[in-house]
């Protein structure tokens, strides 16, 4: 039985009405008292507390988000005029490479699985910490080192990496991109790649082995479920990227020919597609996207999970179709490992129908999620606090990005939209919709838990509306200009094609988004200068994290409520309102593993 192996190692006898967890301050378990440890910067450097590590992750990734956002503004200024001279071609290429690299590798993923998940998952499963606290600390330091390494690219001779965040071979070879910037970029990703793998191990280990008594798999909150699946996807995808990068490094420095065609004779033989004894640039694309597409869902699933936590709370209902949600997440993850070549439709060397069908099929579990989110709101009591507003923004943004994603899954349509601004608009709507809308929903939602103080709801709504308007103003014109044929990653464009108007609108939108993030900074500043106490459960939350104090004590819980559903805190506060099941009656009576009786027994 799963519950037999999940008992946390700490306990105290004689508790009733739930589980009492020993106060670590007692020092009963032989650990030093918390306040006897180091403090200040030394505490931060030596901590293995998932909450401090999670906060460090969030602060670092948010800082990088702002840096990458400023780069995006530079890109938009350059494109506001056809012959923009804000930056040179070289600088422009570095800008969009680093914008993409920072946003995708260093913000969107780490913010979710290193930051929010690190902080929230142990709380949601009722664990005192992550499964491997020291590995967790190592993850963060590798991530911070990798991030600094990547930014150092700007100060090496020749400038930062300038081959796009996908680093297609052979453009990324030492012949076409000499210089240390590219090497620094590769090493930075190898470091953060290991960091991600370790975090994946930690997430999977924590969720499998550190759940509190009663927290069966199907009582885990959806955010926890999604982080479990994300952790598994990380373990599938990131080793591939890291190895591909190491091979690229070997190509650049040790004379291997894995991704290049040195010595091949293809030009002399029209129609000959695979010369013998040659490296293959397409191999890089295959390896990269075998990482890259699961990566898209590594970036998306945590944020789906965040939305699935927030929408029920502000609808005052359980998540609709809980199990369907779980299986939809698993389906997305499974399908995501078989769709990588939809980034390669125009290479002419992939099996179009296979990758097209699987890509289209992802729309089904994603659609299930949409209907479940709507079903959760249906006949609810919706309250539009800032986190909920951001979730509605997420739904609409991701809906638009998802619909255009289905279009792109058809190779004949991809042929004329690939590498144009249509694709730029699509993936920004998807990634901005998830990582930014849902990500900041999560920030507003859990900030009171993390700091025991509220963010100002009024300013939060300003943040939302500015961002929401800026989002549509920025990205909708890019669909149109993409269909007109504007390629991505161009620093200039002809002035006689009518593209400038759309680009100006897009640039204006980008500055509206930037303004919204200035509002967030003001909001954070106010919450520090004039704190408004949050209390333990300001939103009437559902999951376990709302049962403990804000912020939680050193090892998270002094006692736990009985866990009988995926909403233990709600059940505790609203015993008269359990979830209802319509349709075939579920089997009644206690479960075979004796769940009802076990929880009365002190664990350990």
């Amino acid at each position: 039985m799963m519950t037999d192996v999940i008992n946390p190692p700490i306990t105290v006898p004689g508790s009733a009405g739930g589980i009492r967890v020993p106060d670590v301050h007692d020092g009963h378990d032989g650990r030093p008292h918390e306040h006897h440890g180091p403090s200040g910067i030394l505490k931060w450097l030596t901590t293995t507390d998932h909450k401090i590590i999670g906060l460090s992750y969030m602060i670092t990734s948010l800082a990088l988000f702002y840096v990458a956002g400023i780069m995006a503004l530079g890109i938009r200024v350059q494109l506001a005029t056809p012959d923009g001279s804000f930056v040179s071609f070289q600088q422009y290429n570095e800008l969009f490479t680093m914008h993409g690299s920072l946003m995708l590798y260093l913000f969107a993923g780490p913010f979710a699985f290193g930051g929010l998940a690190n902080y929230i998952i142990p709380l949601q499963v009722g664990a005192p910490d992550m499964a491997f606290p020291r590995l967790n600390a190592l993850s963060y330091w590798l991530y911070l080192t990798g991030s600094i390494t990547m930014l150092l690219g700007f100060i090496v001779a020749g400038g930062a990496a300038d081959f796009g965040w996908v680093a297609y071979a052979p453009l990324s070879s030492s012949i076409f991109t000499p210089g240390a910037g590219a090497d620094v970029w590769i090493m930075a990703l190898a470091l953060t790649g290991f960091s991600a793998i370790f975090t994946g191990v930690n997430l999977v280990g924590t969720i499998f082995y550190l759940r509190a008594p009663g927290m069966t798999m199907f009582r885990m909150p959806i955010f926890t479920w999604n982080m479990l699946v994300t952790g598994i996807l990380i373990l599938i995808a990131f080793p591939v990227l890291t190895s591909a990068l190491i091979m690229l490094f070997c190509d650049r420095h040790f004379g291997t020919h894995i991704y290049d065609v040195v010595g091949c004779t293809t030009l002399a033989n029209p129609g000959v597609t695979t010369p013998s004894a040659c490296g293959s640039p397409v191999l890089w694309q295959n390896l990269f996207w075998f990482f890259g597409h699961p990566e898209v869902y590594i970036l998306a699933l945590p944020y789906f999970g965040i939305a699935t936590e927030i929408i029920p709370v502000f609808s005052r209902k359980p998540v609709f179709g809980y199990k369907g949600m779980v299986f939809a997440t698993m389906s997305i993850a499974a399908l995501s490992t078989g769709v990588w070549a939809h980034h390669m439709f125009t290479t002419g060397v992939v099996l179009l129908p296979f990758f097209s069908l699987l890509s289209l099929l992802i729309a089904v579990p994603t659609g299930i999620k949409f209907f479940n989110w709507i079903g959760t709101m249906w006949r609810g009591q919706l309250q539009f606090k800032t986190p909920m507003l951001f979730c509605i923004g997420f739904l609409l943004a991701f809906l638009m990005g998802g619909v255009t994603g289905v279009m792109l899954a058809a190779p004949p349509i991809d042929f004329f939209t690939h590498d144009t601004y249509f694709v730029v608009a699509h993936f920004h709507q998807v990634l901005f919709g998830t990582a930014v809308f849902a990500g900041f929903a999560g920030l507003y939602f859990w900030y009171p838990k993390m700091f025991g103080r509220m963010l100002n709801d009024h300013l939060g709504k300003w943040h939302f509306w500015l961002m929401f308007i800026g989002f549509w103003v920025t990205f909708m014109p890019q669909y149109i200009v993409g269909l007109k044929g504007m390629p991505r990653r161009v620093a200039t464009y002809p002035s006689d094609l009518g593209w400038q108007g759309y680009n100006i609108i897009s640039t204006v939108g980008a500055f509206i988004i930037a303004a919204s993030f200035a509002v967030l900074l003001v909001n954070l500043w106010i919450s520090w200068r004039r704190p408004v106490p949050a209390g333990d459960n300001p939103w009437d939350g559902h999951a376990l994290e709302w049962f403990t104090t804000s912020p939680p004590p050193h090892h998270n819980f002094t006692h736990l409520p009985p866990i009988r559903s995926e909403r233990p805190t709600w059940d505790y506060n609203h015993p008269d309102h359990p979830a209802l099941h319509h349709g075939p009656k579920p089997p009644s009576g206690p479960r075979g593993d004796g769940g009802g009786e076990r929880e009365r027994v002190p664990v350990g």
Binding site: P170, G348, L360, M377, F384, L399, F415, P562, L580, E599
Partner: protein
């Protein structure tokens, strides 16, 4: 994990054991009217949507070419027109789905705003619903895939050819070589070289790259394909009407990626052969990729001064070949 687990079934058992208040039965009177409505009303609403959608689609289909282009080019090759029709279908399907879900979200947001501090029915599952919104999208996706499959085979078909052009992309320009005529046109960056092909004929392109990955993209043909080292891609471009079509590299290929323009001049077969003969008699037409790369090097070096006038410079064709002799063809 033993047996099916449902939160509801374990809920009461759990609360019993800790002496909490007994929760009401799932079918408590307070919940029944709402859920009853829920169950009967919404499937009807949904079927109405489908009927409306089907009627709209049928109406659009009957109007034939009146369907708007939804922002895309209608396609100036036979392949491009096929892709365009698929785009129209996908756009209509996508718009229908978008509007349906958008309406549901907005309806929920407006209709179910919190008006009183009460707790609504805690509905968590509705099996019929869940089956419907799983099965219907699967069918929907399979239909879309069917159309996609047919269209991609049409677009990618390389069965016949009347004229062959070997296209080689390089940093940062294009070479168009006509193997049957020993004619070659090449140009770098701002030279905007022209690929001259006959309209209304099956033109086979063999696409390769001399260095990094490039993208051969002609927006009005609704088509692009990578030019990759180590791979020779082939496809047909069967242009319908004579005309000049702009093309550009789409796959980022280094410093002057933004300037890697070319054009496709589709002319009548007579004009095409006249042009070929003119090229064959001219001594300036031939050039190699090696020479072009030297040229590219010098052009890159001199480019710093030209950046501010990209818009006009790219229009000033100074092709290495004499594609411009066609004039207004």
């Amino acid at each position: 994990m033993a047996g099916p687990v449902t939160p509801t079934s374990n809920f009461s058992a759990g609360f019993d054991s800790v002496g909490a208040v007994e929760p009401p039965e799932p079918d408590a009177p307070s919940a029944r009217p709402i859920t009853g409505l829920n169950r009967h009303r919404l499937p009807k609403l949904r079927s109405r949507w489908w009927v409306a959608g089907a009627a709209a689609a049928a109406g659009l289909a009957l109007t034939g070419c009146q369907i708007p282009s939804f922002g895309a080019y209608r396609g100036d090759t036979t392949q491009g027109q096929d892709a365009f029709k698929l785009w129209q279908g996908f756009f209509i399907a996508g718009a229908a789905v978008f509007l349906l879900v958008f309406f549901l979200i907005i309806w929920a947001v407006i209709r179910y705003r919190r008006r009183a501090n009460t707790i609504p029915a805690q509905t968590q599952y509705h099996t019929l619903f869940e089956i419907v919104y799983t099965v219907v999208p699967v069918i929907f996706v399979l239909i879309l895939f069917g159309f996609t499959f047919v269209t991609e085979n049409e677009v990618d078909a390389v069965t016949t050819k009347q004229v062959t052009v070997n296209v080689t992309a390089f940093q940062w320009g294009w070479e168009f070589q006509y193997p049957n005529y020993d004619v070659k046109v090449l140009g770098v960056e701002t030279q905007n070289p022209a690929m001259v092909i006959p309209a209304n004929q099956q033109v086979r392109i063999y696409l390769r790259s001399a260095d990094v990955v490039h993208g051969f993209y002609v927006p009005q043909f609704n088509f692009s394909r990578y030019a990759q080292p180590g791979v020779t891609n082939q496809f047909n471009l069967d242009v319908i009407h004579p005309g000049t079509y702009r093309g550009q590299c789409t796959q980022f290929c280094g410093l002057y990626h933004s300037l890697m323009f070319f054009q496709v001049k589709a002319v009548t077969p007579d004009q095409f052969h006249a042009w070929i003969e003119h090229q064959q008699s001219s001594t300036t037409t031939s050039g190699t990729v090696g020479q072009a790369k030297k040229h590219a090097g010098s052009a890159s070096a001199g480019y710093g001064t030209a950046t501010t006038t990209v818009g006009t410079t790219v229009r000033t064709t100074t092709s290495v070949g004499s594609a411009t002799t066609l004039g207004g063809a």
